[in-house]
């Protein structure tokens, strides 16, 4: 039983990991067919993973409503919004005479689901992220201080790039455009390249550790 609970999953990781790492170098049609099939399967499994991600949210708010904790009314708003969206998306459209099947428009006509998407989801999500503009300005004012030489360098680079990336900055100070392009294409590119190489080496090392069973935290679930 221990074998089934502990050893077997590790064996599956080892076998699948080695097969697909090797697959990259094997151009045989059977190997290519294996890749096609398994990546197709991963799409289906990816869909189930989304369900996993969403269900924990249900649980948190369901508990809040059941226990009538502070702010449970808002959790009801959440559930109502979700329920209406699901009904609109998977239900039957009497206007258009067919099942909506998750379509935002059918033959050019907007469905209720599409209406919810365009006039509720898009503005809500857009504005949630748009207010970050205010917070970045406030944070910059409060905290962006040249406390040291390095901070001063960061400050100067940020100011040059901010000037150089807008028409007004380039108009007032034409050099800022060229300097900011140089900073991005040469200095920034070199740093990001180093970070990319470093992170990629880490990813490869971690992937090998996972395949060979040295890293097991991804398994989770159940005892041992």
């Amino acid at each position: 039983m221990i074998f089934l609970r502990r050893q077997m999953p590790l064996l599956i990781t080892l076998v699948t990991g080695l097969i697909f790492a090797a697959q990259y170098y094997v151009p045989h049609p059977a190997s290519e067919q294996l890749l096609t099939s398994v990546t197709k399967w991963l799409q289906i499994i990816g869909g189930f993973a989304l369900v996993l991600g969403v269900s924990s949210l249900f649980h948190v708010h369901a508990v809040k409503i059941r226990r009538k904790e502070a702010g449970w009314g808002y959790s009801v708003v959440l559930y109502v919004g979700m329920f209406i969206t699901i009904v609109a998306g998977l239900g039957y459209s009497f206007n258009l005479g067919q099942w909506v099947s998750g379509k935002e428009q059918i033959n050019g006509a907007m469905t209720t689901f599409g209406w919810i998407y365009s006039y509720m989801m898009v503005p809500l999500q857009g504005t949630m992220f748009a207010i970050l503009a205010f917070f970045i300005a406030s944070a910059a004012y409060r905290s962006f201080r040249a406390r040291s030489r390095e901070a001063a360098v960061l400050l100067v680079a940020a100011v040059i790039v901010m000037m150089g990336r807008v028409p007004l900055g380039e108009y007032v100070l034409p050099l800022s455009g060229d300097v900011s392009q140089w900073i991005l294409n040469v200095l920034n590119a070199s740093v990001r390249r180093a970070i990319l190489i470093g992170v990629s080496l880490g990813v490869v090392a971690l992937s090998f550790k996972i395949i060979f069973g040295l890293e097991r935290s991804y398994l989770g679930g159940g005892k041992e």
């Binding site: 990816g46 428009q105 999500q125 970045i136 590119a189």
Partner: protein, 281 residues
Amino acid sequence: MSFAERMLKIDRRIIFLIIGLCTLLPLLYPVGLPIKISQEVRSVYDYIESLPEESVFLLSLDFDPASKPELHPQAIALLRHAFRKNLRVIVMTLWVSGTGMADQVVSQVAHEMGKASGEGYVFLGWSPGAGSVIINMGQDLYTTFPTDYYGKPTKNLAVLKGVQNLRDVNYAVSLAAGNPGVEAWYLYGKDKYKFELGGGCTGVIAPGLYPLLRSGQINGLIGGLRGAAEYESLINQKGRAIAGMDAQSVTHVAIIVLVMMCNVFYLSMRKASQQQGQARL
């Protein structure tokens, strides 16, 4: 509290108001300063210009409504250009919450340019799995998307004639707000299937894509709203990006002024405390 300290502790809502006004006023009263075109954006434009008619152009709209202001104008400009060049356009998305927007933008521009679904373009929609979708498309497009977004079988569509997988795509552009995005398209796509790849992205992830640009792994990069404005200038069709550039200019200057002021107050506070320290000694 000295003046400098009071100024540094000012109610943040005043800063919010300043930023709000700096954004709103230029939108209401635009000036229209000229926009210089960068090489990164020009490379994408030139490549599409060089494609012969009926070439296959894949546009992956990998963003959600949060990034709409930056990437939607890029999508519109690229689609207008591609349709003007009579390319065969394949549109899709790797982000589930971006599907509605992708559907809306391609229908809107196709209608404007007189292109029909199935003949001038195809909208494949979304499929879960990110990297696996790209690999699967690289192996066989029709396995990944047996039907288009509206349920029409993809196998016999005129627009996909002769296209079996990603190797048959002449140019792919991913407009990305994060992961999966341009990097995923290179890693799981271009690395093995060798199509030409360009990128569009939000300002947040743009600096991180420059190593790929420098190495030629992507042939061009349209960065943020500024990149979209440059592309609109190149195709000579003013849109939301150019209209937003004045507000962008003013807000940047506002932030620079705020940061300068913060440092002036900070330095004066530091000097005052140093002088106080010396006076005590």
